[in-house]
């Protein structure tokens, strides 16, 4: 009956169901014809097709990066389906026209879209495989001048905004996966908050990969004009398949003078089974540009899913006095691999950045923090403060920290703290000896460990994230 710290079977993945729905897919593989086909299906303006083709040509010249600490078999990019959409009327005027099966799917995921059941004060854009299904509270937001819609729709209704900003933060040839995304991205969310507007509600996109052989390549673009504020949330799940699915998204944020963007992610893609079979490859490029003076971009992420996570939400601090923040909890269990962190690029004067990263590794997983703090020659009095804490559960998990620091201005101040701890048998025993069960003790310790990050999540999400972590860790300590 001894309660040693060891890995037991995991709680089954709750969102692993498949929705049976007729879909329209295009042939497997990737070439210029496929790209033209995707663009045509979406009835895109000419500049968009040009953008895609340029990206594709760049991508062909690039090689897959191998500098991270994640390992996976070679991906056959010709064996992926790059577009899949549920069959339904070309343009949906209201929710009644959306296939009830799709609404049901999102309801099952805890994201009710119908008028009566909507989440109070959270506007949701629901994306199923390659297309956006519905966006709630659109009219209410429009009254404030806030544009919140799928990027496909934005290309039709606001092409000038998309043209101006798309690729301005993450250029098409930025990296291998970003180039691929730029060539084939299917849908994603678009947000524009006009001058002086504080967005009256949380905006949220919920991504669902349903089709087993489809890659998901979404593209999100958020622009906060002068003196505006927006808080945006993103959630993701996928069914359980034995094979690996590729998810290569690009997110671009732009904050103009005095604007603030808060971007929160709770990522719960299917992580594969305990032997590492199946699961999502999550290769994502997220970058925010603090273009204006006094602007601020804050990333908060809770990464619990995916077989492999490879992402570094970054801030480019161009505007003087601009602020970048990165708060992250990355949890890996079983055979999961995560290589995640951030880049803070200080260009303007008095720019400040904060990095709080918490990695939790259980099972046989591997969890790496990789971060870059770069202070440019003109970044007078720039400041950075970084904390990277790792926690190990059991004896077979691994944690690494790779902080890179480049300072080219002598007035800058950069601080870095790092720690690695282990949920030890003794800590566990201490809590148990006070009457707290082993499971509750682990929850308590994990919540404590993640507190600095959860504090930055919107309320509902913080509770959700806490529960999610407990669920993920159920059975890791017994």
């Amino acid at each position: 009956m001894s309660a040693t710290v060891k890995t037991l079977v995991n709680q089954p993945y709750k969102y692993g169901f498949v929705t049976n729905i007729e879909v329209e897919t295009i042939p497997r593989g990737l070439n210029e014809d496929i790209i033209r086909l995707i663009s045509a299906k979406k009835n895109e303006p000419e500049f968009m097709l040009e953008f895609r083709l340029r990206a594709y040509r760049q991508w062909q010249k690039m090689t897959e990066p191998n500098w991270s600490s994640v390992k996976y078999p070679a991906i056959n990019y010709q064996n992926i389906i790059y577009y899949s959409a549920p069959k339904q009327k070309a343009k949906k005027q209201s929710l009644e026209e959306v296939d009830p099966k799709l609404l049901e799917t999102f309801e099952k995921l805890g994201i009710p879209l119908s008028e009566q059941k909507r989440l109070a004060n959270v506007a949701v854009d629901a994306i199923f495989d390659s297309v956006s299904i519905a966006t709630t509270f659109k009219e209410k937001l429009a009254k404030e001048g806030v544009i919140f819609c799928s990027i496909s729709e934005a290309l039709q209704e606001h092409p000038e905004l998309v043209k101006k900003y798309l690729g301005s933060v993450v250029p098409i040839a930025d990296n291998y996966f970003a180039a691929l995304n730029s060539a084939v991205f299917s849908d994603g969310s678009f947000v524009y908050v006009p001058k002086g507007v504080k967005c009256p509600m949380e905006l949220s996109t919920y991504f669902r990969i349903n089709n087993g052989e489809t890659g998901q390549f979404e593209r999100t673009l958020i622009i906060a004009d002068q003196d505006s504020y927006v808080s945006y949330l993103e959630g993701c799940t996928a069914p359980m398949y034995d094979s690996n699915q590729l998810h290569a998204a690009v997110v671009e944020l732009i904050a103009l003078d005095n604007a603030e963007i808060k971007y929160s992610t709770v990522q719960n893609w299917y992580a594969g089974d305990e032997n590492g079979k199946g699961g999502i490859y999550n290769f994502v490029t997220k970058r925010g540009l603090c273009q204006g003076v006094n602007s601020k971009i804050s990333w908060t992420q809770v990464e619990t899913g995916s077989a492999i996570t490879w992402k570094y939400p970054s801030c480019v601090l161009v505007g003087d006095n601009s602020v970048g923040e990165f708060y992250s909890v990355a949890l890996t269990n079983n055979m999961q691999q995560a290589d995640t962190g951030t880049k803070m690029i200080h260009i303007g004067k008095n720019t400040r950045s904060t990095i709080i990263s918490k990695g939790i590794s259980a099972g046989k997983s591997s969890n790496s923090y990789r971060g870059l703090v770069k202070i440019g020659p003109k970044a007078e009095k720039a400041r950075n403060y970084s904390v990277c804490d790792s926690m190990l559960i059991g004896d077979n998990a691994r944690a690494n920290t790779f902080p890179y620091i480049q300072v080219q201005n002598h007035t800058a101040r950069v601080e870095h703290e790092a720690s690695t701890s282990k949920i030890g048998e003794d800590q566990l025993f201490y809590l148990q000896a006070r009457g707290i069960s082993a499971e509750d003790a682990v929850k308590l310790m994990i919540s404590g460990f993640c507190k600095d990050v959860f504090n930055h999540l919107p309320m509902e999400f913080a509770v959700e994230a806490d529960k999610l972590l407990s669920l993920k860790l159920e059975g890791t300590v017994g």
Partner: protein, 292 residues
Amino acid sequence: MALGDGANTTKAPLQHQKIASKTQSTSRQNMIVDNSEVILSVRNLTAEVDGKPILKGVNLQVRSGEIHAIMGPNGSGKSTFAKILAGHPAYQVTGGEVIFQGQNLLEMEPEERATAGVFLAFQYPLEIPGVSNLDFLRVAYNSRRQAQGLEELDAFDFDELVEQKLELVKMDPAFLNRSVNEGFSGGEKKRNEILQMALLEPKLAILDETDSGLDIDALKIVANGVNQLASPYNATILITHYQRLLNYIEPDFVHVMANGKIISSGGKDLAKQLEERGYDWLLEEAATEVGV
């Protein structure tokens, strides 16, 4: 030494009776009545860690209202004994039995033992980063309440309760908002242990080297806390290397543990003798008695 096991087994309980009958006249001593409830009964307990025997046949009986001190040289097994009673997973019990209020303690999980009323004050209390002391105390307190079939106390009522208990250990309320034991001084950690004990009101409190690392003021605070919590309805086991603590907490029984066994038991005078003469004479005596 193996030969000695049998001799000790029968001897220890006899000594208890003898001492109980010539009870001294301190106020709390009068709490003990011969027929008071047996809280803990340990018989021939043997245990090992990583295959290495540590306990080699421990016998002990503790009645309600009693304070027992277990003394002994380093490595004698006294801390191991304390941890085994609380259910530490690193130790394997290989024989004997432990009955706590009629229940087989050895079959219970550590948290079950705790909620049943066993409390171990740790020699080295652990730090739990990010978990506020207040949250930790409330979760622990409510676990005990739940086990007793009582309703959980809400945050407001709990705050009130904990404020009262703080007095006992003279702790600043600011401690409640700090992470559990994180950055606490040695004395603060020990006082935090006594605060937990005051909240959980255990039936059996085991204090493992609670005096180690304390300056005289902290020692007095801790001892005062323990004395105030001792009642005719509970019992205390003090594990200590030094006699110093016993100047402030007067034990009813003093046991000397050496090489995994209790080799001698007596009243508080035994502790004084140990202070003066050390442990060697007892070890020799024990060796002679069993004819080694």
